[in-house]
Symmetry: D5
Subunit: 147 residues, 10 copies
């Protein structure tokens, strides 16, 4: 079985059982963004976590084993995403990428924000002029090694 | 004069005067990420703001008029950025884009986070295991209109 | 079930029942362009709207649930579309994009026309020299936020 | 002289003389979108029109002759535009292109909207919830010839 | 049923019945290039034409209805075609495109040759040094509208 | 000197002397499409032909020598051309390429139309409903060799 | 049946019968490189040749008819091949292409080496320091026609 | 000085002195294809060879030092070459690449033809039906190492 | 059977039998990186090696024969890999490729490191600040041949 | 001044002074691969290091300040490199990338080899059958964080 088939089965089961990622996350005790990543085939679960998912969604055991494997990551079918919600993240990188690079270097020196020792939080900030999406990217600063 | 030449002059002047975006931002009274964006040719300034920049950096007046124009935005020379710091933002989109889309739709319904009614903050979070870069993306939720 | 299979079932049912998007739109009480978008997997319907579609076209219920989900949007298989009707929209963007940008900025300042708080109307304008297609794009102006 | 250099001279002269496309259009007696297209190197002017532009902007005569030539059209440096205002037109094509194609065929049969026998109007529609940009694309319907 | 499956069925039936596009064209009373285009999914037929094709090739009725639909046009799987016969057309465009543009503008002014109000003829011109393929492209000149 | 600079000088001289490709072609005794190709850097001239061009346009002798060299052919800056007149040739290839391939093979067997032993003619066909552009592509049929 | 399925059946039959292209070529009386091309779907066979292949490999008759058709040529799934053996041919073109062009023009004038009236031979040249692959490309020189 | 400027100077000098690669090759005592490669910036010369070139063409000494450096190889400006002579090499790879791979593996086992321990010869084979270009590629077979 | 199906069967069998590449490598007596390459369809095995794999994993014999064939190599579905672990190798090439080229040329002269007469070792180097991955690439230096 | 101009000046000075990266590295007290990276604009130097470089190569002071800045990294002009030495690194990633991923995950779990906390060593291993290039990539293992 390929990971994509496993993902499709998970999404089908969530639709039929009317379950959200947030509900599954609460049952597993992990953050909803991370759980959505793992179920979409972008992160690997422990044996215990995957067994909980199998039980909650009524999946077959091979799907559970697949959830423990380190997947080939990257979930988009085009280099530039067409979906407007996801494209806005691309737009932010294309437009604010160089300015953000300048600021991070001013604050931290030469290095990067890790995308591995890293977490994402998404919050709703209520606002009378229209609620706001707040995405917090939090990654360890990794200074370039000289040798 | 093209906007790129104006940007190069700004960066040269900052190097010669040993000024940071943060210092310029403080003098203008705006956030450092936004100021870096405007000076890199990704946002437009008011007449007052641009005149302050011209004075601080000793630029010629045409450069000041250019800072007030609405630039052709997008500052990367390749579809997928090669710079590691900026690439990590691309990686986050490629890997966490679909999971984030799922979570935003669960929290807000069908729509997007605006990249226009939008702001970015970058903070340093000190940590004994290595300081962390925290990037906060804050955009208005725009629900899809039906008609 | 993937959204693409659901779309194919809808198109097959429309062909067999000899129904147009306009007829379905009239029964649902929405604009024909929006209904065509939703049925092609580019917009999400309410529970009531999707149930009407299921009834009109005789679809199975899972298809109805899929119509309520927020789809991964973007319906073309190539970056530059090959279909001549759709390509002309690409050509308009490639040729008149920069001039339109200049005019919008002259009229509204720095910002964009939203493609989310947005609607499309298509009308036929009769003309003895050949009828004309009139496409009206109507989106909220979103001014760039400074911060 | 290349057409791009001529365009740059025009834009520089407009900035120095503080002139808008709308003001130039009024003096020439043509629509502002078409004038912006011609000055950006996307359309060709008559001898009279180009001489008026040369006079208004104080250009050298070779620039005037260039304005009369049929330019190599297409003004973007990337296949998918990065500028957010122009990208939204790409997004509209990517998402609503197939639905619009369905509707045009339902209304007109097999054929296209011409992008040559074609005009664009841009209007501001005032709205208390935020003004709206209305772009009207108006092109002759061209039915496919059978032979 | 997707249009591609319908095309595959048509080609299979032609192979089994040992029929050429020219023979089918003669029975329908249309030009062989146009008939090949319609059967390859690049043009739409009338009800009568499609019913003749269904009868000649022994297709099922849904295929006949599909032949009447306006297809998503464009039949190549790569941006630059690899097949040598088709590539030569690409080469002609890449090398003689700009010279042809110059000549058409000298002869007709600013505008294009329509690819919609358009027809193609292919003839064999016998020649002792090797027969020649003569492809005649015949399209209405469409002058650019000014507005 | 690069061939591109030589081409730019030729076009500048033609503009200043108000000469067309057709007029130059008549003086050289060759077809206007071929002359436009040679002057645009897509074909090589004999010593005599290039000297006539140098005399007619008042070019410097190095330009004349360059006109005799075999140029690196291919005159477009993008894989898919953006100019509408040239794009229509691409569209014809994308849509009618496979049907034309079928017909050429039915008429000639396996092989191609040469783009080297090849010529192009462009004619105006007057028509009360709008004049027509007729482009005749005439190339030797080259059968595939078996070995 | 698509040509790709036919190719897969041929390769499967060769594997099961443990046959090489060279052995099949000897039975058909053609060169092994040409036979490999035809069986891989890159050339068309005569009725007699295809019947021999059907008999040797035990294929079904439709596969035999497909071997006689003029295939859509081009057998790679990426623009730049990833397979190292085939990539080296790409590297030779990328690096020695311009030098070879210069030498062919010095030797033959303006024109090309045909890839249609063309054959390939591959030989092993034994060498104590390591055997050598010798690929001989042999194509008719086609001079550019002037008109 | 960049290698490209050096190449342009070499080609200019060859044009002014009316020298061919073959004549230069004879004076240096190397094969004309290799010399063309080195002068086009695709190979590196010894001190002696470069000094001969400097003397023959009257170049300045820095150009001579550049001829001794290991250049960044690869001389085409597009992934797929547009020049017809060079494109035919691409076509040979695209069409005959997989068949050649099969034959080389049948003859030599798993491995490649080296493009480094490699040489090219180009010969003219006279033929009453039209002279033929014979390109001989000769590279060491490199078997894949197992470990 | 295609090689991709064979690879999928191998991976499924490894998952069901809970076997690692290292364990299989030990049983075959080859290095784990090479065995992973061969099982992923990137190298060819001897008859004995493939029979051991068939026995260990319980595969059907055709799969065994496929393991002996020279595969079409290259295992990524995109030109730039999206998986972060593999992307880092791309990043190393993009950033350190030119510097490494300079150093190899300083040490060895003009030539390359073979990727055919080549092996890879991967080791874990324990480190209190975090274990390190050490990848050793070891390829024969191939000097460019002059001729 | 742009970083590319600074790099060109450094390379020119090295050529004129006949200096290698290794010699400069010895004077600075850093590894030659890192020094080559910094001088090629792929890493940033301390004030002291850059001043030494300025002194050794006789550069102007602005170049020295540029060497201290965090450059926009990525030094190749094409997505897939054409230079054979660098291409081999791409080939290794394309072919051995997935196998290496499997082995790293077996040895370390889910995570990556850092390309930031990372160093490269290049050694010559003498061998009677031909010296070998040994490239050692040494990066910290970064385990994926769960949250």
């Amino acid at each position: 079985m390929k990971r994509e088939e496993c993902t499709e089965k998970i999404i089908d089961a969530m639709r039929q059982k009317n379950l959200t990622f947030e509900e599954i996350a609460r049952k597993i005790g992990k953050h909803k963004v991370w759980v959505a990543s793992a179920l979409h085939g972008q992160a690997s679960m422990s044996k215990e976590e995957s067994e909980k998912v199998v039980a909650i969604l009524g999946l077959d055991p091979e799907c559970g084993r697949l959830l423990q494997e380190c997947p080939y990551k990257g979930a988009l079918s085009t280099t530039v995403p067409t979906d407007p919600l996801i494209y806005r993240l691309y737009e932010i990188m294309a437009i604010y990428g160089v300015p953000m690079k300048s600021i991070v270097h001013e604050m931290f020196g030469d290095g990067i924000m890790s995308a591995i020792d890293f977490e994402i939080d998404i919050r709703k900030k209520e606002d009378p002029k229209g609620d706001r999406v707040v995405i917090e990217l939090n990654g360890k600063f990794l200074p370039y090694k000289k040798w």
